[in-house]
Amino acid sequence: MEIILAIITGVLYASGIYMILRRSMVKLILGIILLGNGVNLLIFLLGRITKGQPPIIDSTEKALEGIYADPIPQALILTAIVISFGLQAFAIILVKRAYKVLKTDDLDQLNTTDEDS
C-alpha cells in the first residue's frame, strides 16, 4: 500500500514543481497547491498508515490502546491545510493585483523592481 501512496506523492511533487516552473502566474498557484498536497501526503505517510483505527479513544476506555493511527502527523496536517488555505487566498490576490497593475500574467516580466516596467 505504502508504495502506491509514495508514488502518488512523487507524482504530486513532480506536477507541483512542473507547474511552478511555468510562466503563467495562475499555474504557479496551482503548482503551489499541488505541492502542498504532496507535502501533506508525505507527512501522513511518514506517520505510517492505518486503516479504520482513528486516534479517538473509545467511550469506554481511558487511553488509546492496540493499533491506532498516529495522531501527530494528523495534527500537523490539519494545521497545514488551514494555513495553506490562507496562503492560497493571499497568493491568488497577489496575482490578481499584479495582473491589474502590470497587465501581464507572465512571470518572466516580473524580474525587475522598477515600478514602471
Binding site: P54, I56, L78, V82, G86, I92, I93
Partner: protein, 137 residues
C-alpha cells in the same frame, strides 16, 4: 447562481448549517470535529447564503464586518490560554476543568474556550477573504 431553489433552500440552510457547525465545534474534544472544521463549515454556510441572497443581505444578517470575529476569537483563545495562570496559578495553557460535566456539551474547561476562539478566528478569516474578494471582483 441565484436560482429559486437555492434561494428558498438557503434561508433554511443557514441556521441549520450554523447549528451544525456549533455541534461540530463542541463535539471536537471527544469525536472528530473541532474549531477548525466548525469554523470552516460556518464560513461555508455564510458563503452559500451570500451566493443565493446576495452579499449585502448576508452582511445584513451579520450586522458587523466578519473581520471583527478575528480579534475577538484571538482574544478568547489568548484568555483561555492565560486563564490558568490568573485563576489557579498554573503554567500557561494548562487545562482547567469544571468539576461537573454539563449535558450535551460535556466537560467544560479552558481548552473548550480555546477551541471557540479558533472557531471564531477561522470564520472571521475565511469570510474576510471571501467577502473582500467577491466585493472587489
Amino acid at each position: 447562481m441565484r436560482t429559486i431553489i437555492l434561494k428558498s433552500a438557503s434561508s433554511y440552510l443557514l441556521p441549520v448549517l450554523l447549528l451544525f457547525s456549533v455541534f461540530i465545534l463542541l463535539r471536537g474534544h471527544y469525536l472528530p470535529g473541532g474549531g477548525f472544521v466548525g469554523g470552516l463549515v460556518a464560513a461555508i454556510a455564510f458563503v452559500l447564503d451570500a451566493f443565493s441572497n446576495g452579499l449585502d443581505k448576508t452582511k445584513g444578517i451579520l450586522k458587523f464586518h466578519p473581520g471583527f470575529f478575528m480579534p475577538v476569537g484571538l482574544m478568547i483563545a489568548f484568555l483561555s490560554g492565560i486563564s490558568p495562570m490568573l485563576l489557579a496559578g498554573l503554567p500557561l495553557m494548562t487545562g482547567i476543568w469544571a468539576d461537573n460535566p454539563i449535558p450535551v456539551i460535556g466537560a467544560i474547561g479552558s481548552p473548550l474556550f480555546f477551541d471557540i476562539g479558533v472557531y471564531l478566528v477561522v470564520i472571521g478569516a475565511s469570510l474576510t477573504i471571501i467577502f473582500t474578494i467577491s466585493e472587489s471582483v
